[in-house]
């Protein structure tokens, strides 16, 4: 089954690196152990279950680290390493699975394993009382397996497979509290909306395969849709089918990220997904899975970013930009702390997608990384708050928690500053690069990006002030969370503060900067600005300070301004924002009114018309038989009557004939 692979250039390193796929397998083993152990009943203690899963994640992390050390030695020779195995070969269709790594892949692996491990530790405190504690950890392991295998994917086939697998992990975890109807609906909604995106992705991949089939079916052809061959295949596609078809295929594939990263118009599942336990919101719906969309765009760069792909890139940039601003406007009006954070996630993902669309490959991925740390931390902090306030999520019933939950409050403040993009916190470095990229490419998007930064500052500080300052407005006594929950928070605060300037390449010069490590595949990439654009920086700083000032004025304990003033002053806008731009109503109409009616009509058609015809044919046979049976009634008189009638008719007919 194992094939020597074409991706690895160096045969010496091949030996050392031949079992990298194990990185994804450790969590799968953990999943299997827990499921089997629970079923057989030998796994009873909660710490053991938690330890198995955390250990599996640590194994993945250490293995990645080991591979990275080997990789560093050969980094100049082979930027992309990998190995593939036959999965399903039929005729000339060669579907392979395996692993592939380049700097982008390593970055994702590190982010996923580090954030996962910390969240898995945190989960122990958060879910300790839950009767389905073990199942929760099993699902976490399943998600980790899917996510790591997605990151390792050497081709779009495997990418698609695990794309769906992370989707189902998300479905299982959103609907984890099975007896809550709202959780079940949210889970189904998330899965279906992602399926719609996946449908686009699937059709895109199928069209790509179809249009470049000659490329994949030759004798020495690379495995189907493998990433290293994607650039060549895209050139082939462009050459033979033109820009229009090229763009359509590319945009179909982009539908996958649109759904997965909650971009307009397939975004409404993400806020609902907050029905799941908070660690899930942090891990899947903030740090890792939703970022997979950005990762897929990065992997598709050889196609999207080639000459002729401008149309695709433009659409991506605009979808990202619009999502960023629309989500930010909705976040302004939310009172549920998790919903506010969810819209903020959506908005930040919009930034990343916009960056990818602008050709700012490194900036987009840099923001993915910093966002993963500080947003995971923000969600976990909100979880700590919810935990401490006895499952209260409404910020109107919080307040003043700085006194009772100092650690949580401090890390939340750090996260807020980081996401707002204040120097020198991590969010500043990544967001600034995106804004700078917008500045040099698209003026309108630049305004959107800067404006959204202001909105971000406003709604994030709004959540901070409402939750942690002023008077406590809740009913139950709030308390700080245990160490098992606060420790991961503190650990996540470190990269939230420091990873930005560490990797920005300005202060720590003996460490390579992110932009030099992570470069777009192929040679067409735009050169990202490696210097600070002071105009951009100054402008965005001013706007951010404006947002902060507004939040401070309205929501800090001083309450210089009454928010109601603005709510009433811009009533139509407020209504639009607080009703989430009416997307849910729109989809609900499509699903319930339109499609269910169609389905009802088909069901009626099936019963009345199709089965009716079957019944009718049986009935007519039955009727004609019983009709005919009347003729055979055995009475001579009636036979004679028919005979005489027939005779008369015949005579009449003959007579008429004769007369004519």
């Amino acid at each position: 089954m194992i094939e020597p692979n074409s991706l690895v250039g160096n045969s010496v390193q091949f030996e050392t690196l031949s079992n990298v796929w194990m990185v994804a397998i450790y969590p799968l083993i953990a999943f299997a152990i827990i499921m089997f152990g629970r079923w057989q009943g030998f796994l009873k203690t909660k710490p053991v279950t938690a330890a198995i899963v955390v250990l599996s994640t640590l194994m993945s992390f250490l293995h990645t680290l080991g591979v990275f050390n080997v990789y560093k030695e050969i980094i100049g020779i082979t930027p992309t390493i990998g190995e593939t195995f036959h999965w399903l070969h039929v005729g000339a269709l060669h579907m392979d699975v395996g692993w592939m790594l380049d700097p982008t892949g390593f970055m994702m692996l590190f982010v996923v394993t580090v954030v996962s491990a910390l969240i898995q530790v945190y989960t122990y405190g958060y879910m300790e009382e839950d009767p389905n504690f073990h199942r929760f950890y099993a699902y976490l392991a399943l998600f980790n397996f899917s996510m790591l295998a997605l990151v390792l994917a050497p081709n779009l086939v495997q990418m698609y497979m695990f794309w769906e697998m992370v989707g189902v992990s998300s479905y299982l975890l959103i609907g984890f509290w099975v007896s809550r109807p709202s959780a079940a609906s949210a889970a189904v909604k998330a899965f279906l909306m992602n399926r719609v995106g996946d449908f686009g992705l699937l059709v895109g991949l199928l069209s790509f395969t179809f249009l470049t089939w000659a490329f994949w079916s030759g004798d020495a052809a690379p495995g189907l849709l493998s990433f290293p061959a994607l650039g060549k295949a895209s050139e082939y596609l462009m050459l033979h089918h033109g820009t229009a078809i090229f763009s359509i295929v590319g945009l179909l594939i982009f539908l996958g990220p649109v759904a997965k990263s909650a971009q307009l118009p397939l975004h409404t599942w993400l806020p609902d997904a907050m029905e799941g336990p908070t660690p899930i919101s942090a891990l899947i719906h903030a740090a890792t899975m939703v970022a997979a969309g950005v990762f897929l765009i990065a992997r598709m760069y050889p196609m999207y970013n080639m000459p002729g792909g401008e149309m695709i890139m433009t659409v991506i940039a605009w979808v990202g930009g619009l999502t960023a601003v629309v989500a930010a406007t909705i976040a302004l009006t939310q009172f549920d702390i998790k919903k506010a954070l969810a819209y903020s996630t959506m908005s930040q993902l919009g930034y990343m997608v916009m960056a990818m669309g602008l050709g700012a490959y490194a900036a987009g991925l840099f923001h993915l990384m910093t966002h993963a740390f500080f947003k995971a931390m923000l969600f976990l902090a909100s979880g700590s708050v919810i935990h401490g306030c006895h499952h209260e999520q409404d910020m109107r019933r919080m307040g003043g928690l700085h006194k009772t939950m100092p650690i949580t409050a401090w890390v939340y403040l750090i996260g807020t500053i980081a996401i707002t993009g204040v120097l020198p916190f991590s969010g500043f470095w990544s967001k600034d690069e995106i804004v700078a990229a917008a500045f040099s490419h698209q003026t309108l998007l630049y305004y959107i990006a800067v404006g959204t930064a202001g909105l971000t500052a406003f709604y994030m500080f709004r959540t901070y002030f409402m939750t942690f300052t002023g008077q406590y407005r809740g009913h139950h006594e709030a308390h700080e969370s245990p160490l098992v929950m606060t420790l991961p928070l503190i650990l996540l605060a470190i990269p939230s503060i420091g990873i930005g300037w560490l990797l920005s390449g300005f202060f720590v010069t003996d460490f390579p900067s992110f932009a030099t490590l992570i470069t777009a595949p192929a040679s067409f990439h735009h050169h990202a600005a490696h210097h600070i654009n002071w105009t951009v920086l100054g402008t965005s700083m001013v706007v951010v300070m404006g947002g902060f000032a507004a939040a401070f004025a309205m929501y800090s304990p001083m309450r210089l301004l009454d928010p109601a003033l603005f709510v009433n002053g811009a009533k139509p806008l407020y209504t639009l924002f607080s009703n989430k731009w009416y997307w849910d109503e729109f989809y609900s109409f499509i699903a319930r009114q339109v499609y269910l009616t169609v389905a009802q009509v088909s069901a009626w058609f099936d019963k009345a018309v199709i089965d009716g015809l079957v019944g009718l044919s049986a009935f007519s046979v039955n009727m004609s038989a019983s009709g005919l049976r009347q003729l055979q009634n055995g009475r001579v008189q009636s036979y004679l009557l028919v005979f005489v009638l027939g005779l008369l008719l015949l005579s009449a007919y003959t007579a008429v004939q004769w007369l004519n």
Partner: protein, 569 residues
Amino acid sequence: MENLPVYSILIVLPLLLALIIPMLPDRDRLVHTVAVAGSAVLWVLSAFFWYTSLTTPFPNQTIPWFPSLGINYVVGADGLSWVLVLLTTFLVFLAVLASLTSINKRLRFYYSMLFVLAAAILGVFMARDLFVFFLFYELELIPMYFLIAVWGGPRRQYAAIKFVLYTLFGSIFLLAATLGLYFHAAQLLGASTASFEFGSLSAAASADMAMGLQILMFLGFFIAFCVKLPMVPFHTWLPDAHVEAPTPISMLLAGVLLKMGAYGLCRFCFGWFPDAALAMAPYVVLFGVINIIYTAGVAMVQSDLKKLIAYSSVSHMGFVLVGLGALNVVGFSGAVFQMISHGIISAGLFMMVGTLYTRTHTRLIAELGGFAKQTPTLYFFGLLICLSSLGLPLLAGFPAETLVFYGAFISNAFSSINLFGTTLDWSIQTLTVVAGIGVVLGAAYLLWMVQRVFTGPVLPKWSRLPDATLSEVVVFCFLAVAIVGIGFFPSLVSEQYDLDVSLMANRYAKPLAEKALPEKAAPSDQEAAPKKAAVLPIKPATEGRRVSMASATVTHPLLRRRSSQGEPH
């Protein structure tokens, strides 16, 4: 070992069981035990024979029956038959296990009928003589009638009669096509040498058959098997039969009986009449798409859980039609893969419904709810099977759908379709995209069903119901292992029949390549590179692992005659 009549053993063993079981004393435990043991032996034996055949294939077994009429008892199996035989014995074993809890009256009669059914199905898959095939195909109706009419629900009489009459309606066409084909062969070969053997008939079908006649034959087989498949609009017997049939019989009905139709389409329609298949491919795919989309809609709004699953089963069989209509090795492979996956998954879905029904005695979705908390084991397996059914990767449904989609997309079987005299510009790719919507719809009705049945608070009236019993867990475990195993390692399945579908697809490679040529010359495509389109290079079949159907036709005397035969008779 080589001289062992393995195929006949597999057919006779269940028949013997069917004879022995009625003679046992009327003790439930004993009868159950014998049935379980018998079906287990049948399964293990078939697996063993299959495994042996990988190294040394068994020759076909021929016993002269009515030599003067060209009817002989010929049985054999190629890779395609073997996978279906294994599926059948596996599911019969599971159906017997499922019977332990769900059947409790007239056990001996029940098991007797069940084993006759098993023998008939195995006979269908292993027959190598069309007349024998027809007999087994009809034989299956008798036990099935009783199994529904005696152990079924309230409307069992209606459902059983409808099932039998509908299948018989299709069989008329099968019989007509069979006889027609035989007389055609007799005309070519002379009545003394013609026979109903597959090799002879397939050679006759490909030799000098006028297009009109070929299409007529194709349609004859097609209608017969489409009733069985079932294809819209011939499907309405199926929901009725499923709703009334007891759980194990539903498992067999969805799991293997439908596959007789799919197998027939694959073996005869697409294996024997390439020209007709080429002409009919657009309609086959179109009907496949209608199957997928339309029945998904019907399934969505069913209030009866078992009807929902029945319609979903119909919907998924549409993928078989789409795969076959692709006319290339990937599509054919996907169609066969779908038969196997669908067999296991739909058996699992009906098992799930059955376990709920034995507890609640209702199938109305509106009355169910909260079972995830109440019966976590059932929920786990039910969810796994549903996810597999909606095509989740790493589970059995995904490779089948993937192969069908890719097969249809890289195919150039047709680029337009003629409907009611107007030529529409619908290529196979366009239709496949529509079929792809089925992936979304399938997820929608299955997950909505899971939501309504399993999630939500535990309802007070069901709060005392027990979780899965041991025998149920055993059945589910077998199914789950099969589903996950196939999902992770799909090539274990596809390799078994790879050679057979390759040979089948080879017959289409040349006409399809010729079809692609004019497109290449089209002026719009100025600097077109050699478009390879759907001409798939077939792996050189050097091993010759099994005596395959299509390779048998090459050496058939008829072909040698064909060159010498100058004028029509």
